[in-house]
């Protein structure tokens, strides 16, 4: 089967994120970047499915030339080929979904796995728009019953179950009060939650092989997509610094404080 996964470039949460003085964005200088962790989980799931059912994993990223680093990372993890949508402008969930829709129509995968959100803006919308506009089924927040310490996880068993006839998939998803299982018709859009799997490291042989794997370059124009965002960022501001906490002696004191001082219970 053919599986398409995404690899967005996001700020590394380990680097210090600072808002520009004029609030127009964040200070890029000195920042480190990495693949969106939810996307990394999507790549891992794609690789496990391809290992089990045969087939290829295509990884897509949208952004300036630097996003090739994240594509290379996914290729080093084991993806077969990469598609780079060369786009320098701002993105919002709708413009990203618009571009991805065009890529999916070209690539025609059996399944597309996206991160449920990206840790830069945490919007959690792209997968949903994409499924809606393609008219495909969707299963968001994919997770699994087994824990991340389970033998199934150690054996790198995929969490998404593909039916024997290859026409549908079962996806366990996280909901507020537990887990629920959806059966979706393929092709489908799945978005990954944090507990779907533990992504593999890019191994040294994998990194060397990735050097020779193809990255196809596309542009919004070539895809016939107007990628201008519909969301306008007016101003960013840093959250107020956290005030110092207080130490409580025991649970009783905690309750009293929560009730009388914080007035939250």
């Amino acid at each position: 089967m053919k599986i398409l996964v995404t690899a967005k470039r996001v700020e590394d949460p380990e680097s210090k994120i600072k808002v520009k003085a004029d609030g127009s964005g964040i200070v890029q200088e000195g920042l480190k970047y990495k693949i969106n962790p939810f996307d990394e989980i999507a790549v891992e799931e794609g690789l496990r499915l391809a290992a089990k059912h045969g087939g290829e994993v295509v990884v897509v990223s949208i952004g300036p030339k630097e996003v090739q680093e994240q594509l290379r990372h996914a290729l080093a993890m084991g993806a077969t080929k990469a598609v780079w949508v060369n786009h320098g402008g701002a993105l919002d969930p709708m413009s990203a979904a618009g571009l991805l829709k065009a890529v999916l129509e070209r690539e025609k995968p059996d399944l597309a796995i996206l991160g449920k959100q990206s840790i830069d803006d945490d919007q959690n919308q792209t997968g949903q728009y994409l499924a809606e506009w393609l008219g495909w089924s969707q299963a968001t927040f994919a997770s699994k019953v087994e824990s991340l310490e389970s033998d199934a996880e150690k054996a790198k068993t995929p969490a998404i179950h593909i039916a024997a006839d290859g026409k549908s998939a079962q996806v366990v998803r996280e909901v507020d009060n537990g887990l629920t299982t959806l059966s979706v018709k393929l092709p489908a859009i799945v978005t990954s939650d944090l507990r779907l799997n533990l992504p593999r490291y890019a191994s040294l042989p994998g990194i060397m092989k990735a050097k020779n794997k193809p990255i196809e370059e596309l542009t919004p124009a070539a895809l016939g997509v107007d990628a201008s965002p519909q969301i306008q960022v007016v101003k960013l501001s840093a959250p107020p610094p956290r005030k110092a906490g207080v130490k409580v002696g025991d649970v009783q004191e905690l309750f009293t404080k929560l009730k009388n001082e914080a007035k939250v219970i």
Partner: protein, 598 residues
């Protein structure tokens, strides 16, 4: 003013020790800024492995949990972390040496793991990779590259440590000519408790120093009990006993009587790798003490705000910059030298020759790296106050773990002797233009022609310092060589004092070169680290060079010589607080060493 030292060697051909005769910044060097995308990715994988798989297990490793280090080696093997120096045709990556050192750095975060890893991929595996027959390589390398087999290296004996060739272990051929029979014992062998393949040195017929491979399970070969160590307690260190241990004749490594070639060449790489490994530890301890100092309050103030603490933090960052810059410059030179030659059947011989070419630099990295780490962990304990003395805090372990680095891979005394000794040997051989250049220096000093600032930028002063350090090294060497001739090796204080000046020259030269090399103009943080390090280096070396002269000369001659070098160490006023603040603020901003490798 024109530089006093003029290169006599084409800069395009990398030459070991060549830095002494080149102007600072005269050539482009490999630095973390020039790493390739693959090198960065490989480094990230190594670092991620060490952070996520090794560090969380630190306590279990230190408790010598049975099987743990072996399983970590196997896990590292799955990721390909053990295959970099193994040739491709034996299941390795056949990678460049910069990558090999990047992985040493990445795995350097924890002492016990770092030493286990290095003993396996370095001194354990490489004797077979470099000196083995095709059959030996085919038998062991593929499994060593995956971690299925673990290697150890057994050179040291009760009676022969620094005097490595004084081994008593003896090998004789069996009467049927099918085996070697080994008798003797080895001491302090890393990985011994769980290794499968031991490279063991013994003297054939008690005379000819030779390498052998002894496999675990060989009758007559036993591993003794674990030593109880000051540090790196999780790593395994045991004696080996060979009592009529019989190994197949095919297990002879290299040639009879040529064991010293194996031992010394392996050390060249081992010393360089030690420099890289300590970098990993330095960066981790720096980030951790930075956080501690920010959190710990005294007098209602984070201790990180006190100038005396900030001074230490700045010195730590500067030391990391120095070691990092020298390490990757050296490995870049080795890679460049290898790249100039055609790959082919004699790959191993070329690799050995390239490491040998940079043996001076390897000894420098061994000494400076281990001592820089030592100073850093000492300062880190100090910044922790009482907490630094309590086992609950990781810095307590780091302090103990650091100490071994000055002892193994050749003690720092032995390596200091080697730095100066090798410069002299190459001068005598004519490969380094020491004597001619030393004459030039002496003349320049007599005519009061001094390096001064060179280049007109913010590191011009430091560039002048680099040149002054080289001139001082050449001048003192000349005086000592003229006085003692071939007996100079016996005058160890002179040898060591000169080595210190040579080492500082390499450090400052490398830092100036890297700082100047950045495409986007001079980075003020790099400038500050370079300037501060250069100021310390000049102060230190001024004392060292004078001491070398005092030990080599006397009377009026000595007075003249001391006067001649004095202007090289003229004090340049600087603002220590400003330099320190530039560095520490950048470190605070970054939450650690400010120039993290991508």
């Amino acid at each position: 003013m024109a530089a006093v030292l003029q290169p006599t060697h084409p800069a395009a051909v990398p030459q070991g020790g060549g830095f002494l005769f080149q102007e600072a910044g005269g050539t482009r060097i490999t630095t973390p800024e020039t790493f390739t995308e693959e090198q960065r990715m490989l480094f990230r994988t190594g670092l991620q492995f060490c952070r996520e798989q090794v560090l969380p297990q630190a306590d279990a490793i230190e408790a010598k949990t049975p099987g743990l280090l072996r399983s970590l080696l196997a896990r590292a093997g799955e990721l390909g972390l053990l295959m970099v120096d193994v040739p491709e045709r034996f299941g390795g990556l056949g990678g460049d040496k910069t990558t090999s050192l990047l992985l040493a750095e990445a795995n350097g975060l924890m002492g016990s793991w770092s030493v286990t890893f290095a003993a396996h991929v370095g001194i354990g595996t490489l004797p077979i990779a470099w000196f083995g027959t095709e059959a030996q390589k085919a038998k062991w390398l593929p499994k060593l590259a995956t971690g299925e087999l673990v290697a150890a290296y057994a050179l040291t004996e009760q009676g022969s440590g620094s005097d490595a060739l004084g081994a008593k272990t003896k090998a004789v051929k069996s009467s049927d000519g099918k085996s070697w029979i080994l008798n003797g014992s080895k001491l302090y062998i890393t990985n011994a408790a769980f290794a499968d393949v031991f490279v063991v040195f013994a003297k054939v017929d008690g005379e000819h120093f030779t390498g052998f491979v002894v496999e675990r399970g060989t009758p007559g070969f036993t591993v003794g009990p674990e030593e109880h160590k000051m540090g790196i307690r999780g790593s395994s260190t045991c004696p080996l006993y060979l009592e009529d241990a019989r190994i197949p004749v095919e297990n002879l490594l290299g040639e009879i009587g040529k064991g010293h070639k194996i031992a010394f060449n392996i050390l060249n790489l081992g010393r360089l790798k030690l420099g890289a490994a300590v970098l990993g530890g330095m960066k981790l301890q720096f980030a951790s003490v930075l956080k501690f100092a920010a959190d710990r309050k005294q007098f209602q103030t984070p201790v990180a705000n006190f100038p005396l603490i900030r001074e230490k933090l700045a010195r730590m960052a500067g030391a990391i910059y120095a070691i990092e810059t020298m390490t990757y410059r050296t490995t870049g030179l080795i890679d460049a030298l290898l790249a100039r030659q055609k790959a082919g059947a004699d790959d191993e011989a070329r690799t050995i020759a390239a490491f040998e070419e940079f043996a001076i630099e390897a000894s420098i990295m061994k000494v400076m790296g281990s001592e820089a780490l030592g100073v850093l962990v000492d300062d880190a304990v100090q910044i922790h106050g009482g907490a630094g003395y309590i086992q609950e805090y990781p810095v307590e372990r780091a302090y103990r773990d650091a100490r071994i680095n000055r002892i193994f891979e050749g003690t720092n005394e032995i390596n200091r002797m080697l730095v100066t000794g090798m410069v002299l040997k190459r001068a005598v051989k004519g490969t380094l233009p020491l004597f001619a250049q030393a004459e030039t220096v002496a003349r320049a000093l007599a005519e009061k022609q001094l390096p001064g600032a060179s280049g007109g930028d913010a590191v011009a002063g430091a560039a002048g310092d680099a040149e002054a350090l080289k001139m001082a090294a050449l001048y003192t060497l000349k005086v000592a060589a003229e006085r003692f001739g071939t007996e100079i090796e016996k005058h160890q204080e002179v040898m060591a004092a000169v080595a210190d000046v040579v080492m500082d020259a390499y450090a400052v030269d490398s830092m100036v070169t890297r700082t100047r090399q950045s495409a986007s103009g001079l980075d003020p943080v790099k400038v500050a680290m370079t300037q501060a390090f250069a100021a310390d280096a000049i102060a230190r070396s001024s004392e060292r060079a004078r001491r070398a002269l005092c030990a080599s000369s006397e009377g009026e001659g000595l007075e003249r010589q001391l006067a001649a070098i004095a202007p090289l160490f003229a004090f340049r006023a600087f603002d220590p607080a400003a330099l320190r603040e530039t560095v520490v603020r950048a470190a605070e901003e970054a939450g650690g060493y400010p120039l993290a490798i991508g």
